[in-house]
Symmetry: C2
Subunit: 729 residues, 2 copies
Amino acid sequence: MTGEAYELIGRARREGRSSLTEFESKKLLSFYGVPVVEEVIVDSEGEAVARSVNIGFPVVLKGLGAKLTHKTERGLVRLNLKSEDEVRSAYGAIKKSSAEDWEGCLVQPFIKGKREFVAGLLQDAQFGAIVMFGLGGIFTEAIGDVTFRIAPLTEKHVQEMLDELAARKMLGTFRGEAAADRNQLMKVLMGLSRLGIEHPEIKEVDINPLIIMPNGCVKAVDALVVLDGSNVPCERVKPREDEMACEATEIRAALDEMMHAKSVAVIGATEARPGEFPGMYVCMRNFGYSGRLYPVNPNKEDIDGVKVYPDVASLPEHVDLIIISVPRTLVPKELKKCIASGNKNVHIFTSGFKETGEEEGVKLQQEIEHIAREGGLRVVGPNCMGFYVPASRMLTWITASKVSGPVALISQSGGHAQDFTHYTTSRYGIHFSKVISYGNALTLDSTDYLDYLDHDDETRIITMYLEGVKDGRRLFTLAEKVNRRKPIIMLKGGLTESGARAVSSHTGSMAGGLRVWNAFFRQSGVVSVDSVEQMADVTLAMHHLGTVPGRRTLVLGIGGGMGVAVADSCAKVSLDLPVLSPETNKKLRQFISPAGTMIRNPVDAYEAFFNLDLLGKVMHVLATSGEIDNFVIWLHLDWLVVAKGGGSYLEEVVRYLASEGRKHIQGKPLVVVWKQYEPNPEIIKWISIIEGVLLSASIPVYGDFSRAAVALSKLAGYSAFMTSHSQPR
Amino acid sequence: MTGEAYELIGRARREGRSSLTEFESKKLLSFYGVPVVEEVIVDSEGEAVARSVNIGFPVVLKGLGAKLTHKTERGLVRLNLKSEDEVRSAYGAIKKSSAEDWEGCLVQPFIKGKREFVAGLLQDAQFGAIVMFGLGGIFTEAIGDVTFRIAPLTEKHVQEMLDELAARKMLGTFRGEAAADRNQLMKVLMGLSRLGIEHPEIKEVDINPLIIMPNGCVKAVDALVVLDGSNVPCERVKPREDEMACEATEIRAALDEMMHAKSVAVIGATEARPGEFPGMYVCMRNFGYSGRLYPVNPNKEDIDGVKVYPDVASLPEHVDLIIISVPRTLVPKELKKCIASGNKNVHIFTSGFKETGEEEGVKLQQEIEHIAREGGLRVVGPNCMGFYVPASRMLTWITASKVSGPVALISQSGGHAQDFTHYTTSRYGIHFSKVISYGNALTLDSTDYLDYLDHDDETRIITMYLEGVKDGRRLFTLAEKVNRRKPIIMLKGGLTESGARAVSSHTGSMAGGLRVWNAFFRQSGVVSVDSVEQMADVTLAMHHLGTVPGRRTLVLGIGGGMGVAVADSCAKVSLDLPVLSPETNKKLRQFISPAGTMIRNPVDAYEAFFNLDLLGKVMHVLATSGEIDNFVIWLHLDWLVVAKGGGSYLEEVVRYLASEGRKHIQGKPLVVVWKQYEPNPEIIKWISIIEGVLLSASIPVYGDFSRAAVALSKLAGYSAFMTSHSQPR
């Protein structure tokens, strides 16, 4: 099979063609298991008629030729020919229209079917082979109901693709026609996936239409295979897996050396100056860096009494990490000095390279990349903040928690690295294992850091802010693997056009298309978030709840309008609010009186929040109903305080939820949302107290419904992915 | 024409049919200007052949009969008949299949066309006639690419409908076929609109397919008109417009009396009790109600030394407003007493009625509605908080601002009324004219309050929280009119299924469908928001900016990752971030150095934020470029403070923006967003100070990008609507 495939592609190449003919395209696809229409090439009227009779009327005639394009518009496709006469007349017309491009004529049976789909393959610059499936025929472009997956596909991916089209109903029994044969659809998409992986020289495949026949059979009726313009040999270059594994091991070791550096030198070290950000050296020193810290600067003797070295060559030892913070034009020289002195691990803080989009910066980046690769340097950056590692007391910005925790961050933005860690630690009390800000990714990219964190025992949850990635396929493979051991929560910047432009200005990255990234998230199970705050919200839920058993959510609180708001917020992110059964309703009505309350989920249980024993009973009834997976409790602080005449009641309520109340819900996940509007400092001051009580008890707490709903929904999505992928592939 | 329409409908009614035949349906539609396929009824084979020859082959034959359904499945539709023989054979087959339901046969020309659409009409329980248009043929159900508008339509509505389909490309030149004739599409949809308005007894019209022919002509090929089951006479009951206008005037007067009440009585008045919400009487008294306040309670002599009246009959005067706050079973009796004593204006605070969804409550609501209507009462509520009117010192909850302002709120939820007013006043410094919480809307509904506020000189912006509405058509007509004078910002609760259930539990309302409400918002120009906070955000932008000239937005601040986030946030809500021209870029590069900055919009102008003269120059260049409509400036407070060594620099920056800086942008709308993450109380305390400076200068300020982007986008949407509807209709 594969030999024949190479032959087809090779012939087109030799003839200088950038695509296969329709006949060749379908032939190639058939080698890969795609059910194609049976067809023959004829080169005379007599043969056309004879073959048509063989096939059985009605038939289709199509002009064939490497140079024939826009066949339909040029009248080179004649459908539904019902007699020998019609075949003769069509043959003549096609031959005439084809003129000097004539290479013969295809005869096919006329495949009937109301349902036309499209399937295809494309090579993405970052992710490689991508398989596409969607509504076809004349609607492909007009409707855009298509879905993508990164190859190689599994059968599960194909099932998901079929099920996520808007037009999925058309794949079932439809208007008197049988359901589409899912095995055949499986063959089409798995075949395309295999083709894309085995033949990266194929730039594009377009099967349109892929017809679902009235009996459910699937047939590729027309297809086009486009080759890339390169001279890549047909034989695929096998990845040198052993070499890659070896390099990965080395990089991990280098990163471990940097993140637990026993010695660090800062080139371009300066003292703090008023009205300016303190430099790298001062930040490391002030955070109490636990190793030996060497300032380097040819223009200084000492900084605050500490001896300054004129260059790296004069340092008393090889250091585990060099931080370069000098004007951009000096960076090449400093890198060369690092190489010469045998210092391999470098963080370049300096910016003004590719991200400027201007010639000088782009050239300078090319120059330093060349130097770094030649010299075997491991470079973090340029244009980045480098490392924050509490256990090593490493920090290159002004302030951060000195406590270590289970969450790691890989961030292409230094600003986001600071903001996210500040936010997550100060708002949610969550601490970090390792934080890496890596900017323009000169030699080390997100994939290297991800691989490192996968092996890092200190890290349990991995958060990422990514603008672009060089080797999307490696990221995908790694993320898919790592995410099953350690959940990955990713903020992908630049998924809009304006955002992509900003990305290219910021770290010189290529942001990549939304559809491919959507495929990335769906296939890898990596949790996608859309802001720094949302990344913190999901981290909080994941940190305390791990996974949740499902999407059936019970929301419980005080206030009707607020109940509507919570219900709408939950429904918008596909959390189910099951209607409670009559039995459960009846049990609840034993405790909750009808006036001013509602018990259909959301449950508005006014009395229960002023009588905690009652609240416990309500929670118990709900938890034991077997009707729900998760609890969301909303607390209207203003109302609770006013009715009970003081903020200490708030603490009483949350202490109850954190202890007794929680027993009543029997281990089910609980999320608390508070709302507070009255401009009353006496109430406001209690917010941090109740948040503290809940967080200490590992109960996620939010100040906004929709943020809580989004976090819980994303956690439920991750949990479902883990459940459905728990078998080894 | 209309006479013939009544005749067709009347005949079907007389014959006990709930729908017109296909022939009648198209006839009716043709009276309303819909271009339908020409067709004749035949009752013999010979006639079928003769008519086919007349029409010209190919033709279509369809079985005709009031009882014939599932025609395609039963083989009663024969397409593309090309010869007399084929007609004869089709005629015979159809007659046989029709059996005793045979009433003849339709002969039509066979209309060719790849493009099948659907158009229709339905009667919505709340809004009346709704016109629908979408992708048709076999795709209608599978794809769901349809759009709706509330009748009567204008030509502009039709243009919008055509332009908002996903499949709109198919209406242009498409695959070698001519663009659809938009005049004919106009006739179809305007005709349906007129039909729906003139014939409310028509429950549904379905034109499917509406074929676009290769030459662009539009033809209704099949159609079905369904009648409602009622015996409503065909002649339309004309709205008694004079009576309605008269009643509206009376209601406005009554509401004015209530909202500027000189005297108020509270039935069920109690003193404050610790551990409970204070009652209506205490709230009114404590807020310093400016009129004469009478407590009524047969079980008390006095409250805090003030004489209590045993019942309304014993009051020394007729009062402008009675507030009823007694157990629900006592409400009917109290209403009767109000009627007997000549007190007509009532606010019922009590809950436990229809919103419970339980028999007792539903019955009780029916009972009080009957009493109220018989007695001519004007009832606010039940199940609501009633009025907050600062100018009259009326308030039925615990605390609120005593300052009046230009914003009114109509809220079906009492909780939202409190939360929204607290939030908007305390966060954004915006005050209220009138706030009305009206719950179950026994006799007075949102429409009455909206009409009142339209005439209220004190009110400039109207905000609404709506769960349901009784007379959707009146709401629509009013909102459309009022919104052009005073912008309406509406939070519609219950647009999801779970939310709708919560709505019915909360105020016993019917929430209505998402698609019809979407049509409501598009047609009326009312600004739709999805949370209390978002309603406040948009109110803030509208209050200070009025309208904005367009969507071209320039975002300016410090930080690359943050720039990406702002760009993504703006793009998600369709704010344009135009790429700055090379000339503008060149001018900016005179002030902004390349390292660590970006100038392609978003503009990351690090240096400018530490040198305000420079910032002014940058703003001037941007404002005079002619390339942008609005400015969004983001301030990273942590960075500004750290670099300048103190929070007072923040104040310097915003004072500059509020005065000098603003001059440089020459009157263009400016929105400021601050971000702050570091847990540093020294920075946090400055937030309220800078917000105060900006708000005093009428500059909207937000603490979140996406909230700022949403508010600006919604304001731009409102502004564009106003511009395009500035001509009187």
